[in-house]
């Protein structure tokens, strides 16, 4: 990296990590109240571990079936929508889907069920390539040398430990910081996790030091999540993509379809039923117009749209500006990764501690800063993936006498377009339906879509909540427009 680029990048990285630093400093001051949080910590850990194990089992099982059946990548579409569904929207959908059966899906078991439905697809999407890269050549090597059946597990399973561990770490971090599902399915029956506890403490009118209490929660989240942050996604060795004889094709297809129906179809049906039909007469009676008659909803949707668009634009512009500085881009992305990987609650609390005494606090600007910091690694990673191969092509222009600026304009940036598109399609839906940061940082007048949904539920306006959930779902599904090769 050139010295010219190093100084601003270091400064940028320092600023970007300041909220987490502020959280740790404030949390250290509240260390005395940590013991009171032990029960919630144990519940959170138990749920996160169990959710990770269930997601790995379900997603890994599906990935194994799809791999052995040699299903094409199109079959990933059976599980992808369930992953794109924002988890709090999925929770809503499950409530509304099970309502006619008089099942109230509240409490730890239902939190685990919705988490599994939402995060098993992530395990599937990450583990299937790992299986395809690792297993075929090992299996062939075992079989041709007479190692079959149970004995072959000794040769096939250990190489998967690394990818399994990496995927487990990613899911564990996501569950540890998940706010929407425990807030919607746990809070009504008194089941709290650290993420929901931080929110509750911050808003509590009866606590003497709500900020200090929330900081203590943030500190525990940091302690629980940092060990999992060390791992990166490891796909195992890259072998030749030999094919194995196909097996269990029908079972694999049926399993994927069944999972898609349960994890995506069921909540979708619940949302549609609640949002579009009268709960008593069953007549078609869309709630969307009614929902938009509320100023809170209108402003929430408007704010979410504006904030998501602005955040995506800012991040794309920044990533484009950094693209010519490959090593700086990589360094900055690595520095910022914790902002995305660590529970959003930590970033939200950190921003509160950092900016509470500035004019930015309680304005949409703090939400914009939060979104930009939270989603920056996605934009940078996407451009980094593209720039890796483009560097040589830009150099090929420069070495033939083309200036650096012209080389990037004619070669680099045009070739980056698909990666920028991928980043936009990833960031916009995630930001549009973001809930964790929004719930902590919004102020009256700067509500977001997620906050509007929570508010509708608190007011008993379930139909409107469902309508807004459908809107978030529609935004999330735009990510399906991404070309598979860019997302892989």
């Amino acid at each position: 990296m050139s010295r010219v680029a190093a100084a601003p990048i270091a400064l940028l990285a320092l600023v970007a990590l300041a909220p987490l630093g502020a959280l740790l400093v404030r949390g250290a001051g509240a260390i005395g109240s940590l013991s009171a949080l032990l029960p919630i910590t144990l519940v959170t850990l138990g749920l996160a571990f169990a959710g990770t194990a269930l997601s790995l089992a379900a997603g890994g099982g599906l990935a194994w079936l799809a791999f052995r059946a040699g299903l094409s990548a199109r079959w990933d579409l059976a599980v992808l929508p369930a992953y794109l569904l924002p988890s709090f929207v999925a929770a809503l959908g499950w409530i509304f889907a099970l309502e006619p059966l008089r099942v109230r899906p509240y409490g730890p078991l239902w939190i685990l069920a919705v988490w599994t439905a939402t995060y098993a697809p992530l395990a599937y999407l990450l583990l299937r390539p790992a299986l395809e890269r690792t297993i075929p050549r090992l299996a062939l090597a075992s079989w041709v040398h007479g190692v079959h059946g149970i004995r072959s597990l000794r040769t096939l399973v250990p190489p998967l430990f690394l990818p399994l561990g990496s995927v487990a770490g990613i899911i564990y971090l996501a569950l540890l910081g998940n706010f929407g599902v425990p807030q919607i399915l746990g809070a009504p029956v008194g089941t709290a996790t650290l993420a929901t506890a931080a929110y509750a403490r911050l808003l509590s009118p009866v606590r003497a030091d709500p900020l200090g209490d929330a900081a203590a929660v943030g500190l525990i989240l940091a302690v629980l999540s940092v060990p999992a942050l060390g791992g990166r996604l490891r796909q195992g060795e890259i072998g030749s993509l030999q094919a194995l004889p196909r097996a269990h094709a029908v079972a694999a297809r049926l399993a994927l379809i069944a999972f898609g129906c349960i994890a995506f179809g069921l909540p979708l049906a619940g949302l549609v039923r609640k949002a579009l039909f009268n709960p008593y007469t069953g007549a078609f009676a869309p709630q969307i117009a009614a929902a938009f008659s509320y100023p809170l909803v209108r402003s929430g949707v408007l704010h979410s749209f504006a904030l998501a668009s602005l955040a995506a634009l800012i991040l794309l512009a920044g990533a484009v500006a950094l693209a010519p500085f490959g090593s700086a881009l990589r360094l900055l992305r690595r520095t910022l990764d914790p902002n995305y990987l660590l529970p959003g609650t930590m970033l939200g609390l950190g921003l509160i501690f950092l900016l509470a005494r500035t004019p930015l606090y309680a304005t949409p600007a703090i939400l914009l800063i939060a979104y930009v910091l939270h989603f920056a690694p996605l934009a940078l990673r996407s451009v980094e993936a593209g720039a890796g191969g483009i560097d040589t092509l830009v150099f090929a222009a420069r070495v033939h006498g083309v200036s650096a600026q012209r080389a990037w304009l004619r070669i680099g940036f045009p070739l980056l377009r698909p990666y920028l598109g991928a980043a936009a399609f990833m960031i916009f839906p995630l930001a549009f339906s973001e809930l964790t940061l929004s719930a902590l940082l919004y102020a009256p007048g700067s509500e977001t879509l997620g906050v509007a949904v929570l508010s509708a539920l608190n007011d008993g306006q379930y139909g409107q909540g469902a309508a807004l959930g459908l809107l978030a779902l529609a935004a999330a599904l735009t990510a399906l427009a991404l070309p598979r090769r860019v997302t892989a």
Binding site: F395, A396, A397, H400, G401, V402, A404, A407, L415
Partner: protein, 324 residues
């Protein structure tokens, strides 16, 4: 055209290039021959401006370019994987790097791409892509063209066809070329001079035939492959092999020495050194035998059954180097 003077670029203590002197004249092709890790890529990066040398200086066409950026060096570059721009057509590849007055059509016709000018790289064969890479390099009107293992992505038949043809294009264009390769056949078939690299240093640099026939060191001899090393006692211009005398080039050499014997240097001779055939093998260009002597084993482009005795003598004076 291109001159390197005492260029050094180190990566740690051993990796890199050290004290390299090299020159390439107009219309001349110089091959930089060496195994993987010999420092070829480091040197190429320094010449192309990817990295700057720790020491030494570079000139192109009399102008010092040691610290100049890549675009100011007047180079053409044919990359190992071609590095074509996937979103540009063949003509756009040429147009982007050519000066406004440059006759692009004439160049495309000369390299056989005129009919393909509107195509993008994905619609071209491997050989056609190679020509686009060369056309782009020549369109920049360079003083020097760098060719980095340019045929490694092609199949053997196409490789042999293209390397002669492309060498001809380069000579016609009147530019100098530095052709980096690990393939001795490629170096021998296209280069006017060869620089052999080993351990980051140029261990021999000279006309192609001289470097091949008169290696200056064991490393220089081994760079061309197909060489056997025999450890013998030498003196008075001869090596003593199993009681016979084989002539060596270095008449002043005395004592223990290593003989570097190419596979085509030994012939059957009634007065030659008697050895035992221990193996016989056939490769695409003929049959070879491995012959054992008390001093070691040699390989000869001859035929005979394993176990048989055979007497061999070298047709020319052999390269011999004092054993350290």
């Amino acid at each position: 055209m291109l001159r390197l003077e005492a260029i050094s670029k180190a990566y740690g203590e051993r990796a890199g290039a050290f004290d390299v002197d090299l020159d390439v004249n107009a219309g001349e092709i110089v091959a930089l021959l060496g195994a993987s890790g010999s420092g070829k890529t480091t040197l190429l990066n320094v010449i192309a401006g990817v990295s700057h040398p720790d020491r030494g200086r570079l000139w192109i066409d009399g102008r010092e370019i040691t610290q100049a950026p890549p675009q100011a060096r007047r180079l053409g570059y044919v990359f190992q994987d071609f590095a074509l721009w996937p979103h540009l057509t063949v003509r756009e590849h040429v147009a982007l790097v050519a000066a406004p007055t440059f006759d692009q059509t004439a160049l495309l016709e000369r390299v056989g791409l005129a009919a393909l000018a509107a195509r993008k790289p994905h619609a071209l064969s491997g050989g056609q892509r190679q020509r686009v890479a060369l056309a782009r390099a020549l369109a920049a009107e360079p003083k020097i063209v760098l060719l980095d293992e340019p045929y490694s992505a092609l199949d053997p038949v196409l490789r042999e066809e293209l390397r002669v043809e492309i060498a001809q294009f380069i000579r016609e264009a009147g530019v100098g070329a530095l052709h980096v390769t690990h393939d001795p056949d490629e170096a021998l078939s296209v280069a006017d001079r060869i620089a052999v690299m080993d351990g980051g240093r140029v261990v021999q640099f000279g006309p192609t035939r001289d470097v091949y026939r008169h290696p200056s060191s064991v490393a220089a001899a081994r760079a061309f492959g197909r060489v056997a090393l025999l450890h013998a006692t030498v003196g008075s211009g001869f090596a003593h092999v199993n009681g016979s005398r084989w002539p060596i080039a270095d008449r002043a050499l005395e004592g223990r020495a290593t003989l570097a014997i190419r596979h085509d240097e030994l012939a059957v001779s009634d007065t030659g050194a008697e050895g035992t055939i221990v193996a016989r093998f056939t490769v695409r260009d003929g049959t070879y035998i491995r012959v054992r002597y008390p001093e070691g084993e040699v390989v000869a482009a001859l035929d005979g059954p394993p176990g048989a005795k055979i007497r061999l003598s070298p047709a020319n004076e052999l390269a011999a180097f004092a054993t350290a």
